[in-house]
C-alpha cells in the first residue's frame, strides 16, 4: 500500500471539540473563537477550527422527520446523490471553504466519498465543488434519467481530460451525442418525446419544464458549435477554448438539472393524477414537496462575488465557487500579516504532540446508510492532498517547496507559451522574467539553507550553481530572441526561435528539481528552521527583458505572499476540503432520532482520532515538502489525504501516480496562467472545471467569466427557433447511448446500430481508424446481411430529421460504396447483395438517383468479379507516400552477386544436372533471394486471414498465405538442418554452419527477421548444437556473431528484443510473422467479444438496464496489430534471380518430400549418427550447462530419452 504509518502518525489534526451545546456552535466564526476550548482542542486556532469543525447541523427545523426512511444504499458507489434535506453550514465564513451547502433536491455529481461519510462532489445547480454530508443525500439514479446521467459522466470525463489542441473529436460533435441521446431517452421513457404527447398537453408545468430542458440543451449545443469554430484557432486562444469548455460543462449540468426537474414535475403530476388516496400512505417527506424540490436552476448568488478577486492574484484554483474565493481571500488576509502566520505555525507545531487514542472513528458514522456508503470506497477522482491552508508558511522546507512550485509553474507557463504558434514579445518577456524571478527566490532559499547547515554543502552549492547557469542560459536565450525580434521590428516571436529557449527552460526545470531535491536532503539532515524572508538571489539584470514599462524588481513581501497564495491555491484546490474529510463527523440529519446515533459525533470528540489512510500517491510537489518534514518531530504535519482505504483497486492508485508525477510540472501551474500545459493534470482540471467557470482567471483573461446567472439568462432567452432545432435534433432517432467510449474518446463498444450510426455520422468525417477497423472486423460481430439491414435502417430513420437526413443518407451510400469497392469479400458477403440491390433500385434510387445507379453498378461488378480492388491492405497505418519515402524509386537496385560459374551451375541444374550446394553461392545473394521469396508470400497475406485465429482453424484453409509463410519458415529451418547434417565430413559441416551464420547476418542487414528467426532456431536446436566437434571447428568470432543473433530472436520478455527492433522500423523489413500471430491469438482470447453497458450508473453490475454490446475495443486492438503487420507489406527493392529462385524452390520441395513424418526426430537421429553421444564428458555446449544430467553412460537408448516405468512413483489418483 502506498500509505505508511509514519504518515498516518503525522495526521495530527486536533480533535474536535464538540462538547459544547449546539446552539453555541451554530454561532458565527468569531464567537467560536472566543470560547474556551477544552483539552487538546485548546490548541486550535480559529482558523483551524474552520477547517476542522464539521458543518453545523441545522437545528432550526424541529418537525418530526423520524419517519424518513433511511435510504437504502447498496454497497456501491453512486455517481449522483440527491439531497433530501437542506444543508447550510451556518458558519458560513469559516466553514464554507470546504463544504457545499445543499438545498433539498439538489443533485450532486460525486467524485469520491470519504470513509467518514463526506463526499467530494460538484453541485449541478451551481457547478460548485466541495464536501457534503452523504447522510443528507440519497443515491439518485431513476431509470428515466440513467442515460442522461451516464452521458453527463462521460461528458465530464471527456472534457476534463481531453487536451483541446490535439483532439480532433471536438471537430465532430460526437461528444454531444451522448447528452442529446440521454435527454431523448428521458423524454422517450416518460412518453414526452413529442410536443403532442398526452402528458405534455395535459400538464402545463410539465410542458414548461420540457421546454426549458430543451432550450438548455439547445444552448449547450450552440456552445459546442462555438467550440468547434474556436477549435480552428485554438492555438491562438487556448483560454477562450477553455472558457467555452467550462461553459459547456456548466450547461451540461444545467441540462441535467432541468431533466431532474422535469422528472420531478412529472412525478408530481402523475401522483396528483393517479389517485388521491395513496397520499396517506406515503412518507411525509416525499409527500411534502408539492413544490418541486429542485432548486431554481439559476441560483446565481453563488457565483456573484467572484469578480472581487484582485487582478494579480492567480488564485484561479479554488474549490467551490464563491466560497473558494472567500477562502482564498481569507488565506491572503492571513498571509498578508507577517505576524499571524507565524503565530499560527507555532500553534500548529504544538498540535503535533499528541498522538495515540485511536478509537474507532467509524463509530461516528452510526447511521446505517452512512456506514454503507463509507464502506465502499470506490471513487472516480481522488484529488485529495494536504491542505496548504493549514500549514505554516515560514518553515524553510515549506518555502522551498512553494518557491519550487512557483518556479515550475512559471516555467511551465513559459514552456506552454513556447508551444503556441506565435506570441508577442511582450508576453514572452514577462513570462521569462517571472520565471527568472521565481528562480531567484528559489535560489535564495537554497542559499539560506546552505548557510544554515553544513552537510552536503558542496553538492548543494554546485547544483545551485548549475541551476543558476541554466537560468542564465534561459535569460540570455530569451534576450537574444527578443533582441532579434526587436531589430526585425516584429512584435511576434516565431516558433522557430523557440527551440533554444525550450531547451533551456527544460534544463531549468531539471536543474531546479535536482537542486530542490538536494536541498530537501540537507534540510532533512540538519532540521527544518524558520525562514522569515527571502530575497532574490538572482545575480542577473532582468531589465533586458523589460520590453514594456514593467520594471523588474525584487518582489516585496506582499508580493511574495501573493505568490505563496498562488501556490497554495494552485497546488491543491481539492486538497483543501480534504482536511474536513479527515476527521469531520457528519452532521446529524435533523430529526433523526438521537438514540439512533450510538456515539453522536457531537459528544465524543476524543474518540475521533484521525485514522484515515493517507496515500502518498496523490502527493504533489507541495506535499512532498511535508514528507520531508515528517522526520522532524516539531513540524506540524497535516498530510491529510482523504483517500479511500486499501480496498480501492490499484488502477486508481496508478492513475493518481501518473497524475501526481505530472503534477510537478503542471499541477503547480494549474492556477497560474498556463491552461495549456495543465489540462491533463487532474489537479488542474479540478481547478478549471470547478472554478474557472465561477472564478475569473484574471491573469490572462481580463474579462468576466460568464456567471451562472448570466448563463442561465442566456439559456432562458434562447430563441424559440433554436429550441425547435434542438427539439428536432432530439426527435431524431439515435443509438448514441449504446456507444461506449474510453477516456481518449475512442469507441470501445456499441451495438451494431450504434456502430453503424457512428460509421455514418453526418457531423464530420468519421474517424479513419474506426472506419477501417469496422470494415475489417464487422464480420466478427455481424453478418453481412445484418450490416446491410442496419445501414438500410439508418437510411430510413434519417428521414425523421429533415435537416440531417441528406448528409446521413449520403454517408449510408458511401458506407455501402466503401464496402463494395474495397472491402468486399465475395465468399461471405454475397448474400447481402439480395438486400443491397433492391435497396439501391428503390429506396436509394428514389432519393439519390445517381447514387442508386452507381451502387447498382457496383453490385453487378461485385457479383461478377468478386472483389473489385485487389485488396492488398486496408488503409490503416499505410500510405502510398510511405513507400516512396522509404524506398526511393530512382534508387538503383543493388546489383546481384552471382558469377558466371554460379549462373551456369544453376543452368545445368535446371537442365537436370547436379545441384549446386548453398556453399556455392554468395551468402548475401542467397539471403536476398530467400528474402524475396518470403516477402512475396508475406505481401499477399490478406487481413481477413488474420482475424479470429483463422489460420488455426480448418488446417489453415482460409488462411493460405499465413500457412504458406509458416511453411516456408519451417522449410528454411529444415534446410539449415538438412544441409548441415548431410555431410559426414566434419569440416564440411562446419563450413555449412559458417555459411548459414553468414546468411543470417545478411538477413539482419536486410531486416528480414522472419528468415533470421528460422535460421537461428535451427542452428540453435539441440540437433545442431550437440555437434560439439563440428562447433569446435568454427571460429570464436563467428560463434560470437551467432550469439548476438540469438539474442535478437530470444523470446524472453515477450520477444522484447525483436519487438524493439521492429517497432518504428521503416520498411522494407520482414518482421517475424509468428509474433503477430501470437498477439492476435491473445487479443482474440483475452478479450471477450461483447461487453455489457449499463445505461445507468457504473455501479450497476448486471441490472435490468444493461445492454450487451459489441466489444469494439477488441476489434480495434486486432485491427491495430493487423495494421502494424500491413505496414511491412512493402516489397524489397531487390532483383529477383529466377534461376536461383527455381533452385531454392526445388531444394525446399526436396526437403519437404524427404522429411515426411517427424522430421525433427529424423534430424536428431542423423545428428546422433554423425557424432555419437559422448560418455558423459563435460559438455560445453553453451546452451545446457546444468541440464546434462539424466543420460547415464551405457544406456542403449540412442535418443537419450528413456521411458522409465514410473508405476509406484505416483500418488494414487483421486477420483
Amino acid at each position: 500500500m502506498l500509505s505508511d504509518n509514519r504518515i498516518r502518525a503525522s495526521l495530527q489534526v486536533a480533535p474536535l471539540d464538540l462538547t459544547k451545546p449546539r446552539p453555541e456552535e451554530a454561532g458565527d466564526g468569531s464567537s467560536s473563537n472566543n470560547q474556551t476550548p477544552k483539552g487538546e482542542s485548546s490548541l486550535e486556532t480559529s482558523h483551524l477550527r474552520s477547517q476542522m469543525t464539521p458543518p453545523v447541523t441545522p437545528n432550526g427545523s424541529q418537525e418530526d422527520l423520524s419517519s424518513v426512511p433511511a435510504p437504502h444504499m447498496p454497497p456501491v458507489f453512486h455517481n449522483f446523490l440527491r439531497a433530501f434535506y437542506p444543508f447550510h453550514p451556518s458558519l458560513a465564513m469559516a466553514d464554507s471553504s470546504v463544504t457545499l451547502p445543499l438545498d433539498e433536491g439538489d443533485v450532486v455529481l460525486v467524485h469520491s466519498i470519504h470513509t467518514n461519510g463526506w463526499a467530494d462532489g460538484t453541485l449541478l445547480t451551481s457547478g460548485a465543488r466541495g464536501w457534503l454530508p452523504t447522510n443528507y443525500c440519497e443515491a439518485y439514479e431513476p431509470e428515466e434519467m440513467r442515460s442522461l446521467l451516464k452521458a453527463l459522466l462521460n461528458f465530464w470525463d471527456l472534457l476534463r481530460i481531453t487536451t483541446i489542441d490535439e483532439d480532433h473529436m471536438f471537430q465532430s460533435q460526437e461528444f454531444m451525442k451522448g447528452l442529446i441521446g440521454g435527454v431523448r431517452y428521458l423524454l422517450e421513457r416518460t412518453r414526452c418525446l413529442t410536443r403532442e404527447s398526452m402528458l405534455i398537453k395535459r400538464c402545463d408545468p410539465l410542458r414548461r419544464c420540457r421546454k426549458s430542458l430543451l432550450s438548455e440543451l439547445s444552448s449547450l449545443v450552440k456552445t459546442a458549435k462555438q467550440l468547434q469554430d474556436l477549435q480552428t484557432v485554438a492555438f491562438e486562444f487556448p483560454d477562450e477554448v477553455n472558457d467555452v469548455v467550462d461553459q459547456m460543462i456548466l450547461k451540461a449540468f444545467k441540462v441535467v438539472t432541468k431533466g431532474v426537474r422535469f422528472l420531478d414535475v412529472l412525478d408530481d403530476d402523475k401522483r396528483a393524477h393517479s389517485s388521491s388516496h395513496i397520499i396517506n400512505t406515503m412518507p411525509p417527506v416525499i409527500e411534502e414537496p408539492c413544490v418541486p424540490p429542485t432548486p431554481p436552476a439559476d441560483r446565481g448568488a453563488f457565483v456573484e462575488q467572484t469578480q472581487a478577486v484582485p487582478d494579480d492574484r492567480v488564485s484561479a484554483a479554488a474549490t467551490a465557487g464563491d466560497e473558494a474565493s472567500l477562502a482564498s481571500e481569507e488565506t491572503n488576509a492571513v498571509i498578508a500579516h507577517p505576524v499571524q502566520p507565524n503565530r499560527w505555525s507555532k500553534r500548529l507545531s504544538s498540535l503535533n504532540a499528541p498522538a495515540g487514542t485511536h478509537s474507532n472513528r467509524h463509530s461516528q458514522a452510526s447511521m446505517t446508510h452512512v456506514n454503507r456508503l463509507s464502506a465502499n470506497m470506490a471513487h472516480r477522482l481522488s484529488l485529495a492532498g494536504p491542505s496548504p491552508l493549514s500549514r505554516p508558511h515560514h518553515l524553510v522546507s515549506e518555502r522551498l517547496s512553494k518557491s519550487h512550485d512557483k518556479f515550475l509553474s512559471h516555467l511551465g507557463s513559459f514552456i506552454g507559451r513556447l508551444h503556441l504558434q506565435s506570441q508577442s514579445r511582450n508576453e514572452l518577456a514577462i513570462a521569462i522574467k517571472q520565471s527568472a524571478i521565481s528562480g531567484g527566490e528559489l535560489m535564495a532559499i537554497v542559499d539560506a539553507v546552505s548557510t544554515q547547515s553544513s552537510s552536503m554543502i558542496k553538492a548543494l552549492i554546485s547544483s545551485r550553481d548549475a541551476l543558476l547557469d541554466r537560468i542564465q542560459d534561459l535569460v540570455c536565450a530569451a534576450r537574444d530572441t527578443l533582441a532579434n525580434a526587436e531589430t526585425e521590428g516584429a512584435d511576434i516571436i516565431m516558433p522557430q526561435d523557440n527551440t533554444i529557449m525550450l531547451n533551456s527552460a527544460t534544463s531549468c526545470v531539471r536543474a531546479a528539481g535536482e537542486c530542490v531535491a538536494l536541498t530537501k536532503g540537507v534540510i532533512e539532515r540538519s532540521g527544518d528552521f524558520e525562514l522569515e524572508s527571502v530575497g532574490n538571489a538572482l545575480p542577473l539584470d532582468l531589465i533586458v527583458l523589460d520590453v514594456t514599462a514593467t520594471r523588474s524588481r525584487t518582489p516585496s513581501v506582499a508580493e511574495r505572499s501573493e505568490a505563496a497564495s498562488v501556490v497554495t491555491s494552485a497546488s491543491s484546490p481539492a486538497r483543501r476540503p480534504s482536511v474536513v474529510a479527515l476527521d469531520k463527523p457528519l452532521p446529524r440529519v435533523p430529526g433523526s432520532q438521537p438514540d439512533e446515533e450510538s456515539t453522536p459525533p457531537a459528544t465524543t470528540p476524543k474518540t475521533s482520532r484521525p485514522s484515515s489512510v493517507v496515500r502518498e500517491a496523490v502527493s504533489s510537489p507541495a506535499s512532498s515538502a511535508t514528507s520531508v518534514g515528517r522526520t522532524l518531530p516539531p513540524l506540524p504535519k497535516l498530510t491529510t489525504t482523504s483517500i479511500p482505504p486499501e480496498t480501492t483497486d490499484n488502477s486508481s492508485a496508478r492513475e493518481q501516480d501518473l497524475h501526481s508525477s505530472f503534477d510537478s510540472m503542471a499541477g503547480s501551474s494549474a492556477g497560474s496562467s498556463t491552461t495549456y500545459l495543465s489540462r491533463d493534470s487532474e489537479v488542474s482540471i479540478v481547478s478549471q472545471s470547478s472554478t474557472r467557470a465561477t472564478t475569473p482567471d484574471q491573469t490572462l483573461v481580463p474579462r468576466n467569466q460568464p456567471s451562472l446567472s448570466e448563463l442561465s439568462a442566456a439559456g432562458s432567452s434562447t430563441h424559440t427557433e433554436e429550441v425547435d432545432d434542438v427539439e428536432s435534433k432530439l426527435l431524431m432517432k439515435t443509438f448514441a447511448h449504446e456507444l461506449v467510449f474510453n477516456k481518449e474518446g475512442q469507441v470501445t463498444g456499441g451495438s451494431l446500430a450504434a456502430l453503424v450510426e457512428r460509421l455514418t455520422t453526418h457531423e464530420a468525417t468519421p474517424d479513419a481508424t474506426f472506419v477501417s477497423t469496422f470494415y475489417l472486423t464487422f464480420r466478427l460481430f455481424a453478418t453481412p446481411i445484418q450490416l446491410t439491414e442496419a445501414l438500410i435502417d439508418r437510411y430510413e430513420y434519417a428521414e425523421e430529421s429533415p435537416q440531417t437526413s441528406g448528409p446521413i443518407r449520403l454517408r449510408v451510400y458511401n458506407a455501402f460504396k466503401g464496402w463494395l469497392e474495397s472491402h468486399w469479400r465475395d465468399q461471405t458477403d454475397r448474400d447481402a447483395l439480395k438486400l443491397i440491390i433492391p435497396f439501391a433500385e428503390t429506396r436509394l434510387n428514389a432519393t439519390l438517383p445517381s447514387a442508386g445507379s452507381r451502387l447498382l453498378e457496383l453490385t453487378t461488378r461485385v457479383s461478377n468479379e468478386g472483389a473489385l480492388v485487389p485488396r492488398l491492405v486496408s488503409s490503416m497505418g499505410k500510405t502510398n507516400t510511405a513507400i516512396g519515402q522509404y524506398v526511393p524509386a530512382d534508387l538503383p537496385l543493388p546489383s546481384s552477386i552471382i558469377s558466371k560459374g554460379q549462373q551456369s551451375a544453376l543452368q545445368s541444374f535446371k537442365a537436370g544436372g547436379a545441384s549446386p550446394t548453398i556453399l556455392d553461392f554468395d551468402p548475401l545473394e542467397l539471403a536476398r533471394q530467400l528474402t524475396v521469396k518470403q516477402m512475396n508470400i508475406f505481401c499477399s497475406i490478406l487481413p481477413e486471414e488474420l482475424l479470429a485465429s483463422q489460420w488455426m482453424k480448418k488446417g489453415g484453409a482460409d488462411a493460405p498465405n499465413v500457412k504458406a509463410m509458416s511453411a516456408l519458415s519451417t522449410d528454411l529451418s529444415n534446410m539449415v538442418a538438412e544441409t548441415i547434417l548431410q555431410h559426414s565430413e566434419l569440416k564440411k559441416r562446419a563450413a555449412v554452419i559458417k555459411q548459414w551464420i553468414k546468411i543470417a547476418l545478411s538477413f539482419l542487414e536486410l531486416h528480414n527477421y522472419d528468415g533470421l528467426m528460422a535460421i537461428i532456431c535451427s542452428l540453435n536446436s539441440s540437433t545442431i548444437t550437440r555437434l560439439r566437434k563440428t562447433w569446435d571447428a568454427i571460429s570464436q568470432k563467428r560463434k560470437e556473431a551467432l550469439r548476438n543473433l540469438q539474442e535478437i530472436v530470444e523470446p524472453a520478455q515477450n520477444n522484447k528484443v525483436l519487438r524493439t527492433k521492429v517497432h518504428d522500423h521503416v520498411p522494407p523489413c520482414l518482421p517475424f510473422l509468428g509474433m503477430y500471430l501470437t498477439d492476435l491469438t491473445f487479443v482474440d482470447i483475452g478479450n471477450p467479444s461483447t461487453k455489457r453497458v449499463s445505461l445507468g450508473s457504473e455501479s450497476e453490475v448486471d441490472g435490468a438496464g444493461g445492454l450487451t454490446v459489441v466489444n469494439f475495443d477488441k476489434h480495434t486492438k486486432t485491427a491495430k496489430i493487423i495494421g502494424e503487420l500491413q505496414r511491412f507489406q512493402i516489397p524489397y527493392r531487390l532483383t529477383e534471380l529466377p534461376d536461383m529462385q527455381d533452385w531454392l524452390s526445388a531444394q525446399f520441395q526436396q526437403i519437404r518430400e524427404t522429411s515426411q513424418g517427424n522430421v525433427q526426430v529424423a534430424y536428431y537421429r542423423k545428428s546422433l549418427l554423425l557424432e555419437p553421444r559422448e560418455s558423459m564428458t563435460k559438455r560445453e555446449t553453451a546452451e545446457s550447462p546444468a541440464t546434462a544430467t539424466a543420460s547415464a553412460a551405457g544406456r542403449p537408448d540412442i535418443f537419450g530419452w528413456i521411458t522409465r516405468d514410473r508405476v509406484g512413483q505416483n500418488s494414487t489418483p483421486q477420483a
Binding site: S966, S969, S1021, F1082, V1083, E1183, R1204, R1206, S1211
Partner: protein, 217 residues
C-alpha cells in the same frame, strides 16, 4: 540465450512454457492466469504481458510464461521455445483425442532437448467444463500421468477451474528441482548411483508433498 541457470537468478524468475496442439485452449489458460479480471481490455503486445508474480509455499516467484499460441505451424521454432523453459505445461483438450497424442511427441521433444528425464511438467486436460464432449476419459489422463510421472489436472479456462493450481504445481516442481540441483556439486559427473539417489530423494519428496498430484474437479 542459454536457459537461465538456476543459480544466477536471485529474483527467482522461472520460465514456463505452455505447449499443446492448436485449439486446445492452452492460451486461454495462460490468458486467464496472467490476466487480472479487473483489467477491462487485455493487451498482449506489451513487455510484461506474460510475466506474473506468484507466491508458492511462501516464496515469491516471478513466472515468465512463454506461450507461442498461434505459431503451432512453426514447427522448427519449438526447439528454441523449449530450450528457454524450465517447466512445461502440457495441455490437451479432453474433447480431442489427437491433442493428447500430440502431447506424447511434445514430451519426447522436451526430454530430448532438455536431455534429461527429470523435467518439471504438468499435464492439463483442458475444457473440463465440456463434459458432454469428453472423449478422453479421466482414467486415460491418469494413465498418462503415471506413465510420464507428471501430475494430471483437469482444468477449465472458461470457468477458471484449476487454472492457478496447474501453474502453482509447476512452480513447486521447478523450485524443488532448483533446490535439488543446488545441493549436489554440479560439476560432478552424474553416474548411475547419483541419479538413483536423486530419484530416491525425489520420490520421498513427492510422497511428502501435501498437494495432490492428480486433481479432479
Amino acid at each position: 540465450m542459454p536457459p537461465r541457470s538456476p543459480f544466477s537468478s536471485p529474483s527467482r524468475e522461472l520460465h514456463v512454457v505452455v505447449l499443446g496442439a492448436g485449439g486446445v485452449g492452452k492460451s486461454c489458460l495462460t490468458a486467464q492466469f496472467v490476466h487480472n479480471e479487473w483489467i477491462e481490455s487485455y493487451d498482449p503486445t506489451i513487455e510484461d504481458s506474460y510475466r506474473t508474480q506468484v507466491q508458492v509455499d511462501g516464496r515469491q516467484v516471478i513466472l515468465e510464461i512463454l506461450d507461442t499460441a498461434g505459431t503451432e505451424q512453426f514447427v522448427a521454432m519449438r526447439d528454441l521455445y523449449m530450450k528457454t523453459g524450465q517447466g512445461f505445461l502440457l495441455v490437451f483438450s479432453i474433447t480431442s483425442p489427437s491433442s493428447l497424442s500430440e502431447l506424447e511427441n511434445l514430451r519426447e521433444e522436451i526430454i530430448r532437448i532438455k536431455d534429461e528425464e527429470n523435467v518439471p511438467m504438468v499435464i492439463v486436460g483442458n475444457k473440463a467444463d465440456l463434459e458432454d464432449g469428453r472423449v478422453i476419459a479421466r482414467a486415460k489422463g491418469f494413465a498418462v500421468s503415471q506413465k510420464w510421472g507428471a501430475p494430471y489436472y483437469e482444468a477449465s479456462a472458461r470457468t477458471r477451474t484449476n487454472v492457478d493450481e496447474v501453474f502453482i504445481d509447476l512452480c513447486r516442481q521447478m523450485l524443488r528441482k532448483e533446490d535439488e540441483t543446488a545441493e549436489p556439486d554440479e560439476a560432478s559427473k552424474i553416474d548411475a548411483l547419483k541419479s538413483a539417489n536423486n530419484k530416491r530423494r525425489r520420490r520421498s519428496k513427492f510422497r511428502d508433498s501435501t498437494h495432490p498430484r492428480c486433481v479432479i474437479l
